[in-house]
Subunit: 525 residues, 2 copies
């Protein structure tokens, strides 16, 4: 801190001011800001007479008008008062206790320093180890990442431009809480053609991601503390969304036919909502069997329970035929249907939707009128045109072929390069597969540790174990292939082989200290 | 419901099927869907032999391939099995209790029908009266609505097009949780030039509205159940954001110098956060005095409390000079600064930002890694260019002049047309004014009722009383003028005069029954 004597010297910068003419900040602001600080720091005491603007301008080598501007501002702010004539002085009515130097005894310091600086939950979060972050751009194998090159951005840019050069009232202002009317119409039409069910555009809600939609739906149908069944393992976003709405999520182990309503009832007979992904379970890819579907619908109908059907990647299926969505079998209006565009088009779009049962439309409108979070409007008009003009269907057809090729390459190359380490169950749909350790490696395979080691090698994989709400029954790696060019796949698998080999080698010497720590940590969880 | 005999008749539509060739739904889907329903409804019993595809095609007058496609799908779904030869029958292994007809005694119906259909809070919401909705497009006097014509949409559309025709990895993929790097840079630069404080772009978080930002900030620094001071009256979004994060908001009456830290301490000495709008209080327009500012900063410094500074419309000031933001005086890093682009540019943009104290950057990154809600990315790159290329400053300059003119017209015309009814305190900044009833009308002036009556007359005004968390101390009308063309203002004021006259007329006969109900309801609150 500069002493006050400095500011008294004529040839030193007056008042301790030092101007930077190269700064983007105007000189008058620099002067004002520095004087303000000098006053608040106590370097300029209340009542101190200030040099005249002429003198100060001369000393600072700037225009007098610049100093006058700065003084005007300080006067307006109450830091400086003008005396008889044009002389200025620091305001006398800035009592010491108002300055930021702490004093004892003031009522403002009654509840003293011992308070924690941030929330306890924040401190707990900071105490955890950082999540692993890959070094380079994630080429192989990010989950839920579509191909970046496949999307027709030039066309998209044109649609955006067309939408925004003369936007209608709806586009530019706050639209219906459910989103852009044209987009909701386009979604309803598309669902009729592609997913086999008809719905009223009025029941379509555009949301900012599936979590947003699920949390909203849960708030409409459940009260805080109510129970909901979720799939175990499952999408972590489901747990997060329900937690946001204060819902008690009960994980129900899935088996080879998927979610079991009977097991669910045994665990939590009073649950009022089931959240399931019948077409393609995340992450295991299981298809919910027909009998289970009927059981679930029957439960919802008889108990007036609700079903949230997550059809997040039902569009990608490379062999066999998909079962139609649960929603098509729902005769009593208990199923809300959820899907997303972000994984199909590009993640920054961040647009998903849900189709409400007709009986909930009014209640949901009321709730959304009070809730701030809405889906971003900016892309909704362009997306409506993208769907309505047929580009969406074209894009799905093209990427279905592209991803089928990548999936085949991945399965073929994995059989070669991961032989004896990991096996991949060929999931007939979706955008990822699961690589599981072979039986003899399973006892010492820690998927969190392998994920961290893979990240250090520039690979993005996801551990299967974190998809479990409770204790992980299986470890494995989720490999997303949709965003990974075929040319990358083999190279990445060779790297992954080395990573896995190192991670499961029993000799401790071959492991990095970091890896050992991580292995230890995650085993304890 | 059709009887089974219908489906046996050769000339009637077989199996009760009725195809609609004009539907956008392909014929094979229509066949499949209708047969599925017939099976589930019990109209087609398990084991029933189905007509051959040739016969069915003939009866339905469609191609045989269409029927084969439908059968294939039903077989894949398990509804239909193919027998010896090519004959098809309804699957026998669809036990009756799996169908949606309720049976008693099944474990699935254990917890029976008495359950409520939707959440209690939803039922409560539905029981409330609908909020008034104006008939036409809201020309006069919506709050927080900028002028629709003033924004350069053609330029904006070009920037969007430029951003998206060849997007970088950051634009197309999920970016940093704090938002687009270029936009955060542009915001930091702009704040330095226009608001007088420097900040690191790394501490700027782009959010989906001020509520989103405030709720996020509250979660970083406070635990559920902690107390926060809020201004009374104040922006309802502040209360909602804090409620979302489980924070106990304590309303503190503001006086002519704004928020009083001493009054706040007397009410809730253990509060850990103060949410204030120092530059321009919403809705009253009060400017927080310098001494109060210093007291507040001193409190935060000594008790390690936090200040959320809402600078939502600090850009609009038509006379006098604004005080610099609290953040410029914050030497100990206790102030988070909040502002928004939606009110300055156009509402659909839905982009706001907050500037974190440096010490909270890491914790906030960690929290956002786990939280789904992010600001929409689609417009962030275009907005970065809009700011960096100087269009933002130009737009602010232009709208400042435009709104100053509208404000002047409103004050002048209101003095003529509302004379003896409402008086307007000339707020030197912002985008709205408050019209208060003259003393003799105040006892029978109900701003909620007047708002409802105004909506029926096609006018959008907001009641001051709803800005109070507790009992409203004042009634008045918030009149937003920024989005109201000057030519509209006089016309709208004449209408408003009639609305107010009718509403405050003591004779009951002149009021509509709806209005009487609403008056009664809101008085009771």
């Amino acid at each position: 801190m500069k002493s006050r004597s400095t500011s008294r010297s004529r040839r030193a910068p007056p008042l301790g001011l030092a101007l930077d003419p190269s700064s983007s900040e105007p000189l008058h602001r620099q002067i004002g800001e520095q004087m303000r600080r000098a006053i608040l720091d106590g370097r300029l005491k209340p009542g101190t007479r200030l040099p005249s603007s002429r003198v100060l301008a001369q000393d600072l080598d700037c225009a007098r008008g610049t100093v006058v501007l700065a003084f005007d501002q300080l006067v307006a702010e109450g830091y400086v008062v003008s005396q008889a004539g044009s002389a200025m002085s620091v305001a006398a009515n800035l009592p010491d206790e108002m300055l930021t130097v702490p004093r004892t005894g003031s009522p403002l310091q009654r509840s003293a320093v011992a308070k924690p600086a941030v929330a306890r939950r924040t401190r707990a979060l900071l105490a955890e180890a950082s999540p692993p972050v890959p070094a380079g751009p994630p080429l192989a194998f990010p989950t839920g990442q579509p191909d970046r090159e496949a999307f027709p951005f030039a066309l998209w840019a044109k649609l955006l431009e067309r939408e925004w050069r003369r936007p209608g009232i709806e586009a530019a202002s706050a639209a219906h809480p459910f989103g852009h009317a044209g987009l909701r119409e386009a979604i309803a039409t598309y669902l009729g053609v592609a997913r086999g069910f008809t719905c009223d555009p009025g029941s379509v809600v555009v949301t900012a991601g599936i979590r947003h939609g699920l949390s909203l739906f849960a708030e409409v149908v459940l009260d805080a503390g109510d129970q909901a069944w979720i799939e175990e393992p499952g999408f972590v976003g489901v747990r997060e969304a329900l937690a946001t709405s204060g819902i008690d999520a009960v994980p129900v182990d899935i088996d080879e036919s998927g979610f079991s309503p009977e097991a669910a009832l045994a665990l939590a007979p009073d649950a009022r909502l089931a959240v399931v992904a019948p077409a393609h379970h995340f992450p295991l890819g299981t298809v919910l069997g027909l009998q289970r579907r009927l059981e679930l619908l029957s439960w919802a109908e008889c108990t007036r329970g609700w079903i949230a059907e997550d059809d997040f990647d039902g569009e990608y299926r490379y062999s066999g035929r998909p079962l139609p969505p649960l929603r098509t079998l729902d005769r009593s209006g208990r199923v809300a249907y959820f899907s997303s565009f972000s994984k199909l088009l590009f993640p920054a779009l961040r647009l998903s939707f849900l189709v409400l049962p007709a009986s909930l439309v009014e209640a949901t409108e009321r709730i959304m009128d009070r809730v701030s979070v809405r889906a971003p409007l900016l892309g909704q008009g362009a997306l409506a045109r993208f769907i309505a003009e047929g580009h969406f269907a074209t894009h799905l057809r093209r990427t279905r072929q592209l991803y089928a090729g990548r999936r085949e390459t991945l399965l073929r190359e994995a059989a070669r390069h991961l032989d004896g380490l990991l096996t991949i169950a060929p999931d007939p749909g979706g955008m990822h597969v699961i690589a599981s350790p072979v039986a003899k490696l399973a006892p010492r395979f820690d998927d969190v540790a392998v994920t961290a080691a893979a990240a250090e090698a520039g690979l993005t994989v996801q551990p299967l174990s974190v998809c479990y709400a409770g204790r992980a029954r299986r470890h494995g790696l989720i490999l997303g292939y949709a965003g990974t060019p075929e040319a990358e796949i083999e190279r990445a698998l060779v790297k992954l082989r080395d990573v896995v080999l190192t991670a499961v080698t029993p000799s401790r010497e071959s492991r990095s200290p970091l890896l050992q720590t991580k292995l230890g940590q995650s085993r304890e969880q």
